[in-house]
């Protein structure tokens, strides 16, 4: 359901076909997360940021239609405008600035046009500064209270081929979905990325294929 307050900023409508295609994926993620007590799910890819944003955004929306409260966090520093593709926000609050000045990650939360679907946006930031924030600002602990308030926290990670220190992202996730674009995929690179999950004891829900 859409909120009635008008928001500034631009958002596009969700793709009905994608919603249809990802319905079962959303249910599967929800079911497994509830059974195993998983609070955060990471959406990542080797080289398909657009597909990752699309999958995470549409699945977030489907989860709200299943009466769940969802928080979508953008940690893809290569695509800081990614959330704007589907969501309208006032754009005032961002992650790095908030955690630099406050103890509470919740202060970075923004509502979207959809009820029960909130986002945390990321601003333009260099990779070294971003990694420092992840390491020194204890994002992992700050996410915990949010996991209590939201049924699921979905995290959008950067493209693995452009971001070396993925361990900083993996440690935030309880479960993970890897998005792969058929036309540009490389099974060796994907296998390398997926094998790293094993090191962090993360539950892999599987692969979502972007067939466009």
């Amino acid at each position: 359901m859409k909120r009635t307050d008008a928001m500034t900023g631009e958002g596009r409508d969700l793709d009905a076909r994608a919603l249809d295609a990802l319905y079962n994926s959303a249910k599967s993620i929800l079911n497994t997360s509830e059974k195993r007590g998983l609070g955060t799910v990471l959406f990542s890819s080797v080289n398909d940021a657009e597909g990752t944003f699309k999958a995470a955004s549409h699945i977030s929306y489907i989860l709200t239609q299943l009466e769940k409260k969802v928080l979508l966090v953008n940690l893809d520093l290569g695509h800081v405008d990614g959330l704007g593709t589907y969501f309208e926000t006032d754009g005032a609050k961002t992650l790095v600035e908030t955690v630099s000045n406050s103890y509470y990650l919740s202060e970075a939360i923004q509502q979207t046009q959809y009820e029960n679907l909130d986002v945390i946006a990321l601003e333009e930031v260099g990779e070294p500064e971003f990694i420092e924030v992840l390491n020194t600002r204890d994002i992992k602990s700050k996410l915990n209270p949010l996991k209590n308030y939201y049924d699921l926290v979905l995290i959008i990670g950067p493209e693995a081929e452009k971001f070396e220190h993925y361990s900083n992202i993996f440690e935030l996730a309880d479960g993970t979905v890897t998005v792969s674009k058929d036309k540009t995929s490389d099974y060796k690179a994907l296998k390398r990325h997926i094998d790293k999950l094993g090191l962090f004891n993360i539950v892999s829900f599987g692969i979502i294929r972007n067939s466009k």
Partner: protein, 172 residues
């Protein structure tokens, strides 16, 4: 096994394309040579010297341009007929050789009437053609396999299972 299943169509396509190209090459290149035999009617029989001069002239002026002995004469002593035999030449080469031979006869002052009996046989070159087609098919298979190895895309659920040991959660 998965490799073959995955790349079967690619390999077949490459083989078909290369095989078709090879067949066309075989028929247009390999099939375009001819054996030629022409009888000349002589007003007077050739002397032994003239016969030898003709052979020498053939070798020096004509055969020297081609690998092997392309053109030769056939003559029985005191005969009124002289044959010119050419092996495995293209049509343009045949007409060049005939023109050169006719000039040689004229230079030697031999009077003749040509075109008495002309036989042109196309070389079948069957073995050569089969070799070309066979090699093309083999190259097609090899290229198809190379393409399969180079193609590391994950494009089906089977690829996800086989290469990544994961399941497909969804497709959009």
């Amino acid at each position: 096994m998965h490799f073959l299943k995955r790349n079967f169509k690619t390999i077949v396509l490459y083989t078909l394309i290369l095989g078709t190209t090879g067949t066309l090459v075989a028929y247009f290149l390999a099939g375009s040579t001819y054996d030629y035999e022409e009888y000349y009617s002589l007003s007077e029989p050739l002397t032994t010297t003239q016969e030898d001069e003709l052979s020498i002239g053939l070798n020096q002026e004509i055969n020297s341009q081609y690998e092997g002995q392309a053109a030769s004469i056939g003559y029985s002593s005191e005969s009124q007929y002289l044959s010119l035999n050419v092996d495995s030449m293209s049509q343009s080469e045949l007409s060049t050789i005939k023109t050169q031979f006719d000039s040689m006869l004229e230079e030697m002052g031999i009077q003749y009437e040509d075109g008495v009996d002309v036989t042109i046989t196309a070389d079948s070159n069957a073995v050569f053609k089969l070799v070309i087609i066979g090699v093309s098919l083999l190259v097609g298979v090899i290229l198809g396999i190379i393409h399969g190895i180079w193609n590391r895309r994950v494009e089906t659920d089977e690829d996800v299972r086989y290469y990544l040991n994961e399941k497909t959660l969804g497709i959009f």
